[in-house]
């Protein structure tokens, strides 16, 4: 789908988007209501017990740590923490649900009424046609310095529930149920603590949705509540989207989009859905309330089930557990456990380390990257934070991208990067040499100092040593010296080249230039 088609649709229609984001709490060692370990994959049905298999007579016992993590997540997103809350049973039949009900929360979630501030810059700004290129009329604030804007998205609630098992359909295509001859169920995942965050329908563009989800992920990672792997399904984003003609206040009929397994999918699926709904309305048709499945390969959504098939979940209070009564002091003690969150981190990088906003934002958004950066800066010194950042966002990012790996999997450690920056900043090697060393250390895992040593590429910055070479070059080329002194200053390049050759490329060009200029004019 062409980008300009979305822009054209958004000229005439306003999209109203709300997200439902499920995050598995992978920080706990054990499942939500039993002692089975929380992990990904593994031999099917090996991390199970009577409780998470829903055997007759088994009872759930709530995992205190998972509740604490949920409260922390709520505190990190400005939610109110309920002093009185409760689990409910959400009832429907499906083979991946051992009890045929899910222990979830209904009208008394742990967290509600939160806020998340999202910044949009770059290409995504254009999707907010009502802002006229980032200048806010109402609502979102313009961010003057880079043409972006800032908007606040409400968080309706964050509640805690148990994850289901996993169905494996055999005999159909791509593991889907259509055409399958039979299905298998793996309950390893069943009972994993799952946080569900529901946003207010405050999101207006696919880009805002993507930024919201990315921001949330960076907060969850900073908290350490989850590994937030969209690929492995520990973070799953569903979107509710409807459109209405600009100027109208009544909400349109929504569709719910599922199976968006990356931030790009989230953006593209919502964009597709907005255009699809606009096409329907333009043709005089109605949007049908239904759940739709995003196919990232075909780049389209298809109907999964309609509202008529929607369940009556028959929620009622979970009688196997007593309600929770939280002491405000306990909530305060959890608040003290909150780590530095991405926004605060970015501000600190800008004020204390003098990073540009863009770089500070990139480094602080990814928790693993921020940790790497801070470790490297701790070794290299705060004054060298900028070159550390440049290496990380430049060569290192390009390398990871090319190899398709994550930062922790790279051979490059914070200490190695700090050492490399030190070599350059101390004038031991040139920038050009540093790039070679970087490539070498990323491939071999050797320390940059050792590489420089082994290659004999140590840069000579010693003024006296350079002076003696320069003296020799000047003596060997009296004609050129005379010409230079007569005004042909362009000959400086000739002398630099000659000195460099003499020093087999290991002279510090900056120092050579200084010495040459001084001795030639002397």
């Amino acid at each position: 789908m062409a980008k300009d088609r979305l822009a054209e649709v958004l000229e005439r229609y306003e999209a109203v988007i709300g997200l439902e984001i499920h995050t598995e709490i992978t920080a706990t060692n054990t499942k939500m209501f039993c002692g089975c370990p929380v992990a990904f994959g593994g031999e099917p049905n090996t991390r199970v017990c009577p409780v998470c298999l829903g055997l007759p007579g088994a009872l759930p016992v709530p995992n205190q740590a998972a509740i604490e993590w949920t409260v922390l997540a709520g505190l990190a997103t400005d939610c109110d923490i309920a002093l009185w809350s409760q689990f409910h049973r959400k009832q429907y039949f499906y083979p991946d649900m051992p009890k045929d009900y899910q222990i979830s929360q209904y009208d008394l979630p742990f967290c509600s009424g939160g806020l998340l501030e999202v910044e949009v810059d770059g290409d995504g700004v254009a999707q907010r046609v009502d802002l006229g290129g980032g200048v806010a009329a109402v609502g979102p604030e313009a961010v003057a310095d880079d043409g972006g804007y800032r908007t606040t998205i409400g968080i309706t609630r964050i509640h805690l529930e148990e994850d289901t098992g996993k169905m494996v359909h055999v005999g159909g295509s791509e593991g889907r149920i259509a055409g399958a001859t039979h299905s298998l169920v793996d309950f390893n995942r069943a009972g994993t603590p799952l946080m569900e965050l529901v946003s207010e329908p405050d999101i207006r563009t696919p880009e805002e949705a993507r930024r919201f989800a990315q921001k949330l992920r960076s907060i969850w990672l900073a908290l350490g509540v989850s590994d937030c792997s969209m690929e492995e399904g520990s973070m799953r984003v569903d979107g509710n989207v409807s459109i209405r003609r600009r100027g109208e206040s009544e909400l349109g009929t929504k569709s719910e989009v599922k199976n968006m397994n990356s931030f790009k999918s989230l953006h593209d699926a919502l964009a597709y859905e907005i255009v699809r709904q606009a096409d329907l309305l333009d043709a005089g048709d109605r949007v049908v309330q239904e759940t739709r499945h995003w196919d990232a390969g075909a780049k389209r959504t298809s109907a999964l089930r309609s509202k008529e098939e929607a369940h009556d979940y028959r929620y009622f209070p979970e009688p196997d557990m007593v309600p929770f009564s939280f002491d405000p002091e306990w909530i305060d003690s959890l608040a003290e456990r909150l780590p530095e969150l991405p926004d605060a981190r970015r501000a600190r990088y800008m004020t204390e380390l003098s990073l540009r906003k863009h770089d500070a934002g990139l480094l602080s958004a990814d928790f693993a990257q921020a940790c790497f950066f801070e470790e490297a800066v701790a070794i290299a010194g705060a004054a060298r934070a900028k070159p550390v950042a440049n290496w990380m966002l430049g060569d290192l990012a390009a390398l990871l991208n090319a190899e398709g790996i994550e930062l922790p999997e790279s051979r490059v450690s914070p200490a190695m990067l700090a050492e490399l920056v030190g070599l350059v900043e101390d004038g031991m090697i040139s920038g050009k040499q540093a790039k070679e060393v970087f490539g070498d250390m990323a491939a071999s895992g050797d320390a940059p100092g050792a590489i420089v040593e082994a290659r004999g590429m140590r840069q000579v910055s010693d003024t006296e040593a350079i002076e003696s070479v320069v003296r020799g070059v000047l003596e060997a080329n009296p004609v050129e010296v005379a010409s230079y002194r007569a005004g042909k200053t362009g000959l400086i390049g000739f002398f630099v080249g000659a000195v460099m050759r003499e020093m087999r490329g290991q002279g510090n060009p900056k120092v050579i230039n200084e010495v040459l200029t001084r001795m030639l004019s002397g």
């Binding site: 007579g57 009872l59 049973r89 299905s183 009688p319």
Partner: protein, 500 residues
């Protein structure tokens, strides 16, 4: 063949006999199975006998005694276990076709505690399917018959657990009580049946019916035996989040202190219930006189909201049951139709064929009561009634230590006599409010009814976690009445005399 008459011995006496070498635990187990051999063809208290488990346990007791070790409190005491409690090495069918082949893969906490205390697991006891009923007529495997009159029901749902103690096939047994399922069969078979305070005994491993109402409890021939069993099975359990950390008193030590100074309240408005038999009502009044004669302060109290108990219970119980029974879907275990077209067909036919009519009725009731648009009118209202009932009990226990009602409005009825569900449900009129409030209560035999010759039961209700006071009152009453009922069937077999 050994000749120990288990009807003539209490659980305490069985243990003492083993400890002093009068007989071995193995002989006790043999005696239990001999009695079962003689009578259970007619009574049908057991769905499954577990001699391997029982004799292994008996041999452990006998070895311990031979080694001079101190025997645990229920050493060698033969016990029946209701078939809704998990025990490895047994099927746990809940008397349902849907779990007909279900083998337990873990142990129910209360059962393993009973066995740790030395009890011998004789077998799994018959019941109404999933504990839905008051007669065991709803068992998918045929009813249990009342040892007092084989034409009559033993009560339910723990009818097998009651009957096996009444017939001397076991000294004690475990039942579960959601609306009277221990106390009502206790009353109908002349046994002592205790429903502990909600949270007193772990529910882990008992197949749930109404999670907020269910409680495991013991049957015995005497209050003392029931107290011994309660001590063994009570206490906090990390596997049950609703189990209480309230300390477990030495319940049996509280017995024998009499009723002097106890404040005993007759629940006068409940006693006036229309369907209550005249003789049963009289016995409650004479029981109050017995307490007064023992030095108790007797008065009257009303529980005005208790009349709504039945209606509230038949919303809340089925609502929870409809949810708890959802898991029996044919996917992971239990009965599954072999030729399902798709998953929906598999669910619907496995359940339709696996569940009996009363189970289906309760699931339908509960599903309806929780459905969108009906929740407030049914479940919401029922919870309000429940709160009122709790308040009534709280107020009553400010004035009294224990309350008295009949256990049932009438004695054991004949098979098929109660053909419509509502008249059957009325049998639990006196017991249900106690489950809704969560209090403890016990049914103690109060005499034989002169017309039918069948046992009657007095229900004594105690405050939360006041089992010591409750059992003390029950023991005082038991001692004062000297009523030790032995069914004619057993008398015919053993030649023992009933009564004093």
């Amino acid at each position: 063949m050994s000749t120990i008459d288990l009807s003539a011995l209490t659980a305490r006496e069985v243990r003492r006999g083993i400890a002093s070498g009068d007989f071995s635990a193995r002989e006790v187990a043999e005696s239990a199975y001999a009695r079962i051999e003689a009578l259970d063809g007619e009574v049908h208290a057991f769905l499954q006998l577990t001699p391997e488990l029982a004799f292994a346990a008996a041999d452990r007791v006998d070895r311990a005694r031979a080694a001079g070790e101190e025997l645990p409190p229920l050493a060698g005491v033969p016990a029946g276990i209701k078939d809704n409690m998990n025990l490895i090495g047994t099927r746990t069918t809940c008397a349902s076709r849907i779990l007909g082949n279900y083998e337990s893969v873990y142990d129910c906490t209360a059962v393993s505690r009973l066995l740790e205390a030395g009890a011998l697991p004789i077998g799994k006891c018959n019941m109404d399917e999933f504990a839905f009923g008051s007669s065991t007529e709803n068992s998918a495997y045929g009813p249990t018959r009342n040892p007092w009159d084989l034409e009559r029901v033993p009560g339910g749902s723990s009818g097998g657990s009651a009957a096996c103690v009444a017939a001397g096939m076991a000294s004690i047994s475990l039942g579960s009580d959601t609306g009277g399922s221990i106390r009502q069969p206790g009353a109908l078979t002349g046994t002592v049946g205790l429903k502990p305070t909600y949270g007193r005994v772990s529910r882990y491993g008992v197949v749930a019916f109404g999670s907020s109402l269910d409680q495991i409890g013991p049957f015995g021939k005497t209050v003392d035996d029931v107290a011994l069993a309660l001590e063994a099975i009570s206490g906090a359990d990390v596997m049950d989040a609703t189990s209480s950390v309230e300390p477990v008193d030495p319940y049996s030590e509280a017995l024998g202190r009499g009723a002097q100074g106890l404040r005993v309240g007759i629940v006068s408005d409940m006693l006036a219930m229309e369907g209550c038999g005249e003789e049963i009502r009289r016995v409650v009044n004479s029981s109050a006189e017995t307490f007064a004669a023992l030095g108790a302060e007797v008065g009257e109290v009303e529980l005005p909201s208790a009349q709504h108990g039945l209606a509230a219970y038949y919303i809340i119980g089925p609502a929870e049951a409809s949810s708890n029974l959802a898991r029996f879907d044919g996917i992971r275990y239990g009965r599954r139709v072999p030729d399902a077209d798709d998953v929906l067909d598999l669910y619907m036919r496995s359940r339709a064929e696996g569940f009996g009519p009363e189970t289906i009725r309760r699931i339908m009731l509960g599903t309806y009561a929780l459905s969108a648009g009906y929740y407030d009118a049914y479940y919401g209202q029922a919870q309000k009634a429940r709160t009122r009932i709790i308040q009534d009990f709280r107020a009553a226990f400010e004035r009294f230590d224990v309350l008295l009602t009949p256990s049932t409005p009438e004695v054991a009825f004949r098979f098929g006599e109660k053909s419509d569900p509502y008249t059957m449900y009325l049998n639990d009129y006196y017991t249900i409010p106690v489950n809704l409030a969560g209090n403890c209560a016990v049914s103690v035999p109060s005499g034989l009814c002169t017309t039918a010759g069948m046992p009657m039961g007095l229900q004594i209700i105690g405050d939360y976690f006041a089992e010591s006071t409750l059992l003390r009152a029950a023991a005082a009453f038991e001692e004062a009445t000297h009523f030790e009922p032995v069914p004619p069937l057993v008398r015919a077999l053993t030649g023992t005399e009933g009564g004093e």
